[in-house]
């Protein structure tokens, strides 16, 4: 049979060696080839980012840092559970653990410096399939919105930051070829060659006993002494002294509620805890304002969890050396020991903090959900 088909198709002596078909055959061929091709092409992004294989563990570890990869690969990856938030969130979640615990594909759009005003913009990029043939939309089953107090504040650089976030989101709903290949190449090159997950595991194994073996009293004493000299501590002392809440919170929350409702997604809201050192610096009035802002989200959230670090069992050790770089840990206990900016990150958890927070917060968040997301910590 194949021989007779080839005999029909091939035409010896003709330039490319193919027989000219009639125009009607050509049109029929177009339909017969295009339809299955469209099906295959729409299925490809769900599995492998336009054919480039992506290591799942590496991808999830990579999400624990700022960068557009999470956002730009969202439509191709199509996670069932989508995380949104600022740097508190991307540092606070252990996405590998979350995917394992939830038994769902997770992903997210997490942008450093994100304000609450950017969340409706992220939601606006989501939507169901268009009426256009083969144009794929994307709506996750569940959105987990991680919030932190600074997301609700005013700041001199806020407008610029919101615009920067909008720029990063520009490509989110764009599946143009160049954008897709760009995202795919970025993910594949950056992660598959880096073996990010393996490196993280190695570093975690080495640093865990050293960090968790630190004396809490030594850490608190050293932090108190460094309050006016170490950059992140100086920065937060200044921020907490001049807290001003945004006047747009109510309107923004309305937008978030309306959009999540129209998308038909289950919205979960969780406060991402900061270090006990930083939590102690909040004025009670400022903290109450934050609480009321988050509680306003309760009206459209399936569940809202606002726990402090202590309620998760997090202490200051979980905020030491976030990037697990080479450090002289003995500096924390020596009288003349000096700590540096990289030694302590007051508002970003290290991998051990993320592990603890992820396990406990997911259990609290989804405890009331009977179906969809499992609850098996």
């Amino acid at each position: 049979m194949w021989r007779s088909i080839l005999k029909h198709v091939r035409q010896p002596g003709n330039g490319l060696g193919f027989r000219r078909t009639g125009f009607r055959t050509y049109l029929l061929g177009l339909v017969l080839v295009a339809l299955p091709l469209a099906y295959v092409f729409t299925a490809i992004p769900e599995t492998s980012f336009v054919g480039l294989p992506v290591d799942e563990a590496d991808y999830l570890v990579k999400l624990r840092n700022s960068g557009p990869n999470g956002c730009t690969t969202l439509f191709a990856r199509r996670p069932e559970v989508m995380f949104i938030g600022d740097s508190h969130s991307y540092a606070g979640w252990d996405f590998r653990l979350a995917q394992e615990k939830l038994d769902k594909k997770v992903g997210g759009c997490l942008v450093g410096g994100m304000y609450i005003e950017s969340v409706p913009l992220v939601l606006s990029k989501l939507g169901p399939d268009s009426w256009l043939p083969f144009k794929s939309g994307y709506v996750p089953d569940v959105i987990v919105l991680g919030v932190s107090p600074r997301m609700f504040w005013e700041a001199d650089t806020k407008q610029q930051q919101v615009e920067n976030t909008a720029e990063e989101l520009d490509g989110l709903s764009s599946n143009s070829l160049i954008r897709l290949f760009d995202a795919a190449a970025g993910v594949a090159l950056a992660e598959n060659e880096d073996k990010t997950a393996a490196k993280e595991d190695l570093a975690t194994a080495w640093h865990r006993p050293r960090i968790m073996g630190l004396n809490l009293a030594d850490i608190e004493s050293r932090l108190d002494n460094s309050r006016g000299t170490v950059d992140p501590l100086v920065y937060w002392t200044g921020r907490l002294a001049n807290v001003e809440y945004s006047s747009q919170i109510e309107a923004t929350i309305n937008q978030i509620c309306n959009r999540s409702s129209s998308l038909g997604v289950d919205l979960y809201v969780v406060h991402i805890p900061e270090s006990p050192y930083l939590e102690a610096g909040y004025d009670s009035k400022d903290w109450d304002s934050y609480m009321s802002a988050v509680k306003a989200l309760e009206r459209c959230a399936v569940n809202t969890v606002i726990n402090t670090s202590a309620e998760y069992g997090l202490d200051n050790r979980h905020f030491v050396n976030r990037y697990l770089t080479d450090q002289d840990y003995s500096a924390w206990s020596r009288e003349d020991g000096m700590i540096e900016a990289a030694h302590f990150d007051p508002d970003h958890m290290n991998p051990f903090g993320a592990e603890l927070f992820t396990a406990k917060s997911l259990r609290l968040l989804f405890v009331t959900v009977p179906s969809g997301v499992t609850n098996n910590p």
Partner: protein
């Protein structure tokens, strides 16, 4: 309707004063409508800056495609006046003005080019040959628009927007944005022109050629014979020649060229950046014509036709086009100058990973003043550079749609003779199974790439 009725009133002896009055009246009416809708706010904002004059004009919404159908109606009035149109049928006239494949962004067709096709007994019937050819050309055009133009445009927009906000781009960012936009508008307009010709062909109508590999041009004169061919034809026949063309000496010719190109720039949009773009091209044309005149005077060979000189001429022409397009794209004169300054003297910034990969060369670059950046955007820079290099190769060396389909004469008019873009190509389309596969892939990828409404750039004109 008025234009058609005016032409019907032409039925008086040729060259009579009534005919001339009717012609001038018809053109004035068309131009005044175009002037009001397109330029009222532009001139009003200019006037309101004058001391002692205070007024504000309510925003005027621009009717879509007004620039194109106004020009078509003017060609109709002039051609009728000159006796080039034999019959007037109101319905055919309406179809001539509103035929949707070419209504919104061209080509600017002449009455005689299409009405004879509307009157053909074959018109209105779907034929498999026309459908196969039309769908293939349309698929190629759609691919150019949504998969290439829209994609590459995403590299240009942030830098031009930042420049409009007063931020100075670094050297690579400025060049990247200027080149990205140069390719964006190329594939956008080329894609639209293919789609118009493909759609027309599906209905059995062959539209005039409007775009023919203009970046292969080896001079600005050639460029304007290959870019927006029907607009060039209109400006030549209805502006440049009536001004005197090249019949009144070189100086008058150059002045006519400048006036024509300034008007051409203003036609694209009510803004000084468009006027400057037109003025720059006018200047390039004057220099090009003067150079040719001098070369001819001195008996120099036509060196742009041979060997390596073709590539040098092509590169020079391309760079001139890139510089002019910076004004075309920029929101303001200042924003354009910010980009151009970045292209000439912006700081050189590279991603630290790229410098590390270069080893000792990277160290030498650092010592030479190259700044390091850790911004993730620098990774995009590598992808962007690769994409730009591929697109440059595509526009310079690959055959265009007309060349692929030449056996079936997809366009009404032939490509301009004696330009560097018209060299032959081994590739040609025929209804064979491999071409079924290629067309299906191109069409499906293009359709899948449609994710958001990105209008054609030429829609705004």
């Amino acid at each position: 309707m008025v234009s058609c009725c005016l032409v019907r009133r032409y039925g008086v002896p040729r060259l009579s004063r009534v005919r001339t009055v009717l012609l001038i009246g018809g053109i004035a009416l068309n131009l005044s409508l175009l002037g009001f809708f397109k330029y009222a706010n532009f001139f009003a904002s200019g006037l309101s800056r004058a001391p002692g004059i205070e007024f504000e004009l309510a925003p005027v919404l621009l009717p879509i495609a007004i620039s194109f159908f106004t020009f078509q109606q003017i060609t109709f009035l002039v051609d009728s006046y000159k006796g080039r149109i034999a019959r007037y049928d109101f319905l055919k006239y309406c179809l001539f003005v509103t035929f949707f494949p070419q209504l919104i962004a061209g080509p600017i067709v002449q009455h005689s080019e299409v009405v004879s096709q509307y009157e053909s007994s074959r018109f209105g019937f779907l034929r498999s040959g026309n459908l196969a050819i039309g769908i293939t050309i349309f698929a190629i055009g759609l691919f150019k628009k949504v998969a290439i133009a829209d994609g590459i445009g995403e590299f240009a927009d942030p830098v031009f927007d930042a420049a409009a906000a007063g931020q100075d781009p670094h050297l690579f960012a400025a060049w990247g944005a200027a080149l990205s936009y140069t390719f964006q508008i190329y594939f956008d307009f080329s894609g639209y022109s293919d789609m118009a010709i493909g759609l027309g062909r599906m209905f059995g109508v062959r539209l005039p050629l409007n775009f023919y590999s203009p970046y292969k041009a080896t001079s600005i004169i050639d460029f304007w014979r290959l870019w927006h061919i029907t607009l060039s034809r209109f400006l030549r026949d209805y502006v440049y020649k009536p001004l005197g063309g090249n019949r009144k000496g070189n100086y008058r010719r150059y002045a006519n060229l400048m006036v024509t190109m300034l008007l051409g720039g203003l036609w694209h949009g009510a803004g000084w950046t468009f006027v400057i773009w037109g003025g720059l091209h006018g200047l390039f044309l004057v220099v090009n014509h003067a150079w040719r005149a001098i070369a001819q005077e001195l008996g120099l060979p036509a060196w742009t036709r041979h060997g390596a000189s073709v590539h040098v001429s092509r590169l020079l022409t391309f760079l001139a086009v890139v510089v002019a397009f910076v004004f075309f794209r920029a929101d303001s004169f200042n924003a354009a100058m910010t980009i151009l300054t970045g292209m000439v003297s912006g700081p050189v910034v590279m991603h630290e990973t790229h410098l590390a990969v270069l080893g000792p060369v990277g160290d030498a670059l650092r010592n030479a003043g190259v700044r390091e950046s850790t911004a993730s955007a620098a990774y995009v820079g590598l992808v962007q550079a690769g994409a730009l290099a591929i697109l440059l190769w595509v526009v310079w060396y690959l055959p265009n749609t007309q060349q692929l389909m030449r056996k079936y004469r997809p366009a009404l008019t032939a490509p301009p003779a004696d330009t560097a873009a018209t060299s032959g190509s081994r590739f040609r389309w025929r209804p064979t199974l491999p071409w079924v596969a290629v067309t299906a892939i191109v069409g499906v990828v293009a359709t899948l790439s449609i994710t958001k409404p990105d209008a054609f750039i030429y829609f705004q004109f």
